[in-house]
Symmetry: C3
Subunit: 165 residues, 3 copies
């Protein structure tokens, strides 16, 4: 990590973190106009391989996210934000999300994921130009086909220690 | 969002975020003196419509939160902080909380909520003058009557896509 | 809390928060080389009383954390960061972690904990010199013997209010 770069721009960091938080707030309120305004008009968003989980442009994303109404309630908790400024107007940002969803029948499904984003500075502030979601994991009730995170495999010959009670 | 305002004051942002974090740390330790000191003496706190979930003043809040001892253990995880400075000494702050609670019988209950706060700068630092908790949702084991979040309804005629496996 | 101290150094705060986030990112990817590089060569790490949960030095830690491969997938969500600068090159940092783990049989186990860290500034940036993990709580499926948090007891004569529905 290039710390000289990543440390710069505390005000830009705060502005980017605010966009990440408002995405969650607006999604849980289903305020899709506010949510779509966080993205560039020509954004590319990819939650998974299903074409219905991919969007070209903020208007398309806004319409696609109407799918979230199939949940009765949701709660998206963001953390682990890392920001790498490529230049003064572009940043590559990774964040974690714990996303809880409740169905109309009151069963729930939780996904533990991350957003891999490209932010750009526009005349209206920092906006998401590209978002790809990856899934660290989920409980078994969550069945949406989100892009899986690649995790390194144990080396050959590794054996598990008996550390659990 | 007025980004010029929200971007200002990185040191004030850090101080406000610290108060939010210490609230969680002190609550999970049941260090109620430390917790009450984060609020103004005349604070108003409202977790729900039940009078026992509302407090007038830090001393009242301190006493009311003794109710948390009915849980065996708790863990409050804060995220999604947005801060809007109204002026140099006042800020409207929204944050998310994932609050896990364990009963003496080892069953647990989790609530996914948000704090809607008014912070003021005092001679002792930033303090919470007003807090209202809203609930995005909860698991079925959580039965405290927290104020519900209002979520927009799907437009008439909306139909759910068949996107789950 | 000494706010004059804790408010200082917004760029150091960002660098320390980045180390905390990368620990989680690298652990969930099992990128143990990247993870070990976040610690000083002579670090002391203590997750629990079992000797296999304690490490002396980054190389020892790297090897010990191979134990995480006994999980199929993990997700570590960090929040509630507080930073107290002891001097310009040393900081005492507390953070919360919600750590979800999935076994090969697809059962899961979640721990709600905190990291109590000592950070030092090195020529390569801020590094963790000492980490002690405490457990606020866990679900019943989590059976690793993490150091428990001490929570204050209710005063004698306290009785639980009937506040749950």
């Amino acid at each position: 990590m290039n710390e000289a770069k990543s440390r710069s721009n505390p005000e830009d960091r705060a502005a980017i973190e605010e966009v990440l938080a408002i995405y969650c707030i607006a999604l849980d309120e289903m305020d899709l106009d506010r949510l779509a305004a966080l993205f560039t008009a020509d954004c590319r968003v990819d939650y998974g391989p299903d074409a219905r989980l991919q969007s070209n442009g903020a208007a398309d994303l806004r319409q696609s996210l109407e799918r979230m109404w199939r949940w009765r309630r949701t709660s998206h908790h963001l953390s682990n934000v890392t920001i790498d400024f490529e230049d003064a107007d572009t940043a590559n940002v990774v964040s974690y999300v714990l996303a809880w969803h409740e169905r109309p029948d009151l069963t729930s499904a939780t996904v533990y994921g991350r957003y891999v984003d490209r932010f750009v500075r526009t005349t209206e502030g920092w906006r998401i130009a590209k978002r790809r979601m990856l899934m660290n994991g989920s409980d078994r009730a969550f069945t949406v086909d989100i892009n899986p995170l690649e995790r390194r495999e144990a080396p050959a010959g590794w054996t598990a220690p008996d550390i659990d009670r």
